[in-house]
Amino acid sequence: MLQKRLNQLKELLLTEAALVEDMLQKSIQGLLGKKIDILHEVIEEDEPTVNGLDIEIEKLCTQIIALYQPEAKLLRTILMIIKVNYDLERVGDHAVNIAQSAVDILPYEFKDVETIVKETAESALNMLQDSINAFIHEDTSLAKEVCERDEEVDRLRDKCIKKFTDLITHHPERSIVFAHLTRIVRSLERVADLATNIAEHALFMIKGEIIKHGQDERL
């Protein structure tokens, strides 16, 4: 019974993670490739699905805690799944934000910053994928590596925003594009933060170590 429920929970979490990754990928693709269909797909179809999964996972976690009073590793796993679930749902929200901005700036060109936006997006996406893999496969070293990569995305975001500000000063008529791009880059940076959180959750789940907020202590 417990095993059945745990398997079900893992399956749901994997589905959610895959879907959220997909959403992020699609909104970036839609942004760079000017594909309106997939952007609408993200906003109108994927987002409600993620919300449904989020509720489902939360319910299952509550049931497992209520019915089996898990302890030790199992307790940490369930608690961290609850947190990862929350983080993934937030990633989904950011993907929707990106998609919405992408729809708004669809008619405009921004070839001059495409590369750096793509770079930021890719490293955020990589972090997300790696953090989820670290969580699922309980890979400590990968999780630690993800945590360290957070600063890289921060750096990229700063670089982007600096570039956007420069361009706005020179081409005030394009400010709407850069305002949206700023929003997108901020979202990507938030995704990277959430990926870092997931990696931290993975570490706590595996070893019971809290390394959040720069602290490193055992529970």
């Binding site: 019974m1 417990l2 319910k59 509550t62 049931q63 209520a66 019915l67 089996y68 009073q69």
Partner: protein, 252 residues
């Protein structure tokens, strides 16, 4: 709608003048595990004993209301026939001390004087012990006394003894309260495996046990059925305040 196997209607149970169950209306679904929980003295064991009419044997024990076994009125049947259709396992393992493991399993036939062929008896013993997950442990000394087994094994022997009669329902009265955690886990696994072939009603004062094994849970308090529903629902969002308080350890 699932099939119901045991249904009580306006069931009242008494010990002499003392009323132990008040207006219990409960429908126990077929091939599911239903847990009856509640604080000590809430009448959960009495309710269980009403189902196989063992309650009538206690001094001053009597019931009012209706109990249905499927479509038949359980109270109109001969209690002896009821007990052959509904098996029971008790708090303390109680194999017959004078009988071997083999004889314990077919005790329901032997004691009732039901004649069965030797091969048939062998078959019943083997399948029942296999169902009770005891066969591998005892197959080499079936003719030793049942009381040589450990507590957990004895309890599984008692389950096998009840299963040998091919009951429609199996009543378990706190079957693990006298056992260590490991045997308890073993019995719980067994109970879950059994539900495909027999309806199980288990009385427990261990909330965790109800959570782990039961599909449905009934909460009894002071002889009243406070709440009945799917275990997940009852455990995560009880409708009645008393259930909530019991689950959070306020009483019991």
């Amino acid at each position: 709608m699932e099939d119901k196997i045991l249904i009580t209607e306006k069931l009242y149970a008494y010990y002499g003048e003392h009323c132990v169950l008040k207006d219990v209306n409960l429908e126990i679904p077929k091939f599911k595990i239903t847990a009856i929980m509640g604080p000590s003295g809430c009448g959960k064991t009495t309710l269980l004993r009403c189902f196989n009419r063992l309650h009538e044997l206690s001094p001053g024990g009597r019931i009012e209301g209706q109990i249905w076994l499927g479509k038949t009125n359980l109270l109109s049947l001969n209690p002896i026939m009821v007990r052959r259709k509904i098996g029971m396992v008790f708090q303390r393992p109680n194999p017959f001390p004078t009988m071997s493991i083999y004889d314990n399993v077919i005790a329901g036939y032997k004691l009732n004087g039901i004649k069965i062929k030797r091969e048939e008896a062998d078959q019943i013993v083997e399948t029942s012990l296999k169902k009770a997950a005891l066969w591998n442990e005892v197959k080499d000394f079936l003719h030793r006394k049942g009381t040589f087994l450990s507590g957990g094994q004895q309890q599984r022997l008692c389950i096998a003894r009840a299963l040998a009669m091919h009951p429609e329902a199996l009543l378990l009265d706190e079957p693990t309260s006298a056992l260590d955690p490991k045997s308890t886990a073993h019995i719980e696994e067994l109970i879950i495996e059994l539900k495909d072939s027999v309806t199980i009603v288990i009385v427990t004062h261990n909330i965790g046990q109800a959570g782990r094994v039961a599909d449905y849970t009934a909460f009894l308090y002071l002889g009243e059925l406070v709440e009945f529903g799917p275990t997940e629902r009852l455990f995560t969002a009880p409708k009645d305040k008393r259930t909530e308080e019991y689950l959070s350890g306020k009483f019991g």
